[in-house]
């Protein structure tokens, strides 16, 4: 499977958004568990 967005500028921005969202979700999960 070759991802055609890979290594491009757009891909980097998508992945930055993905990591940002996932980090926020992980923090929310941590808050849920430790509340």
């Amino acid at each position: 499977m070759t991802n055609l967005l890979r290594r491009t500028n757009r891909h980097r921005r998508v992945m930055a958004a993905v990591w940002g969202v996932n980090a926020a979700l992980a923090l929310a999960l941590l808050w849920f568990v430790l509340r």
């Binding site: 998508v14 993905v18 969202v21 568990v33 430790l34 509340r35």
Partner: protein, 434 residues
């Protein structure tokens, strides 16, 4: 919509059930139990939001690009799968089920009775298979219609199974307020399917089109022109694309994405430049004038409307010319004051489409296998050619719109970035997401 607003909206919707569960669900249980439940809650809401990220909603995809929308959909689906797979593994319960003497009111445990879990187990088996089928859809070479139907139906079944599982077995989702929240979210997700497969086709039925002409442009490329029947046509920006359905019922799944090659200024007719590639496009030459057509759109953000750059570079490889010639024609027809340069690469002379139209000084034709008498550029659209055709001032200030094979787009985009073109001045859109 702006990317940041979309991200915040995404987080708000995905986190709503988790926040609701925390605030309404009473005292927390042991850490692992809560973690397991939290993973399940997040996975379910992420799965439901995937329906909205299907690429069929202009409000989402036209601001950020269809390729970005689909990539986000794909990556978040994988993330949701990981959470869903971990979800049951972290519970510490009695595998045999039945009441536990120390927890007669079942405040502390989820049920482990198989009938209550059967929907969850079914979803647990289906979800990985569903994601794997989606990831490997190219290799499995489905017909596009089969793939779409399978993905839509599969998603519907999984969403309903997980809803049943959450309400019947979930500690939090069993609370009335949260039950209603999950039902509302699942209803909205299922509603997107109804919208895409029922409401949109009905709207299309009311706005029919008809094929006006099918012309062979090159040995493997065709131009299909359609004309509106009893309505004013489509409002769009040059460079956008539509989902086109030629000769099938509006309710069938036979529709494919094509860039509009004609300019909005030449409305109401629309023309498409279509290359024989897949199962549908191979038969494009057999479509007769008069064939009914429907279209959905416009989609895509490959548009130069409203941009303030002094010049526009259109870099096209092969059939990637389609959206760019639309932009080129629009700029010409509207006497746009911005400078424009269209660079169009092909392998052989026979592959050049619209040759008689592309003769101006602002068009650079490039061939990698030129004939002996070729007067234009030779080679491929690469770093050397870019450096020869564009001055540093142009690279710094122009808008670059790129459409073509992935290897060309990657090479050109990376080179422009390295030469100092800011990324917001490079527009690309890809139709092959994986």
């Amino acid at each position: 919509m702006k990317p940041l607003i979309l991200i915040l909206l995404y987080l708000a919707v995905v986190l709503a059930p988790l926040i609701g569960s925390a605030s309404l669900g009473g005292p927390p249980r042991p850490l692992l139990q809560e973690l397991a439940t939290g993973l399940g809650i997040l996975a379910f809401s992420m799965i439901l939001v995937e329906f909205i990220l299907s690429g069929r909603f202009k409000q989402v995809s036209n601001g950020i690009g269809m390729d970005v929308t689909m990539r986000f959909h794909q990556v978040m689906a994988r993330a949701a799968l990981v959470l869903a797979l971990l979800h049951p593994l972290l519970y510490r319960g009695t595998p045999s089920g039945g009441p536990r003497p120390w927890d007669t009111t079942r405040q502390l445990t989820l049920t482990t009775d198989v009938p209550d879990l059967i929907s969850g187990i079914a979803a647990y088996v289906l979800l990985p298979a569903f994601v794997l089928l989606a990831v490997g859809r190219k290799k499995l070479s489905y017909k596009y219609e089969t793939w779409r139907l399978m993905h839509g139906l599969g998603a519907l079944i999984i969403a309903l199974l997980v809803l049943h599982h959450a309400i019947s077995a979930g500690r939090y989702a069993g609370l009335p307020a949260l039950t209603w929240l999950w039902i509302a979210m699942t209803g909205a997700a299922v509603g997107t399917l109804l919208y895409v497969y029922l409401v949109v086709p009905l709207l299309h039925k009311a706005q029919p089109w008809r094929v006006a002409a099918v012309t062979q442009l090159t040995p493997q490329q065709w131009e299909v022109t359609i004309t509106p029947e009893g309505h004013e046509g489509l409002g769009y920006h040059a460079g956008q694309f539509v989902w086109l359905n030629l000769g099938h019922s509006p309710f069938s799944l036979h529709e494919h994405p094509f860039s509009i090659a004609s300019a909005p200024a030449a409305a109401p007719n629309l023309s498409f430049m279509i290359k024989e590639l897949g199962d549908f496009t191979r038969s494009i030459g057999q479509i007769a004038p008069g064939t009914p057509a429907q279209l959905a759109g416009p989609f895509g953000n490959l548009s130069v409307a409203g941009r303030r750059e002094p010049g526009i570079a259109l870099l096209a490889g092969g059939v990637g010319l389609a959206p760019l010639i639309g932009i080129y024609r629009q700029l010409r027809l509207t006497d746009d004051p911005r400078a424009v340069r269209l660079v169009y690469g092909n392998r052989t002379r026979e592959q050049i489409a619209y040759r008689e139209e592309l003769t101006g000084d602002d068009v650079v034709l490039v061939l990698s296998e030129p004939p002996d008498d070729w007067q234009g550029e030779t080679g491929v659209i690469d770093t050397t050619l870019i450096d020869r055709l564009f001055t540093q001032a142009e690279i710094d200030s122009w808008l670059f719109v790129i459409c073509g094979p992935a290897v060309m787009m990657n090479g050109v985009e990376n080179h422009l970035l390295a030469r100092g073109t800011p990324s917001h001045r490079i527009l690309t859109e890809r139709f092959d997401y994986d």
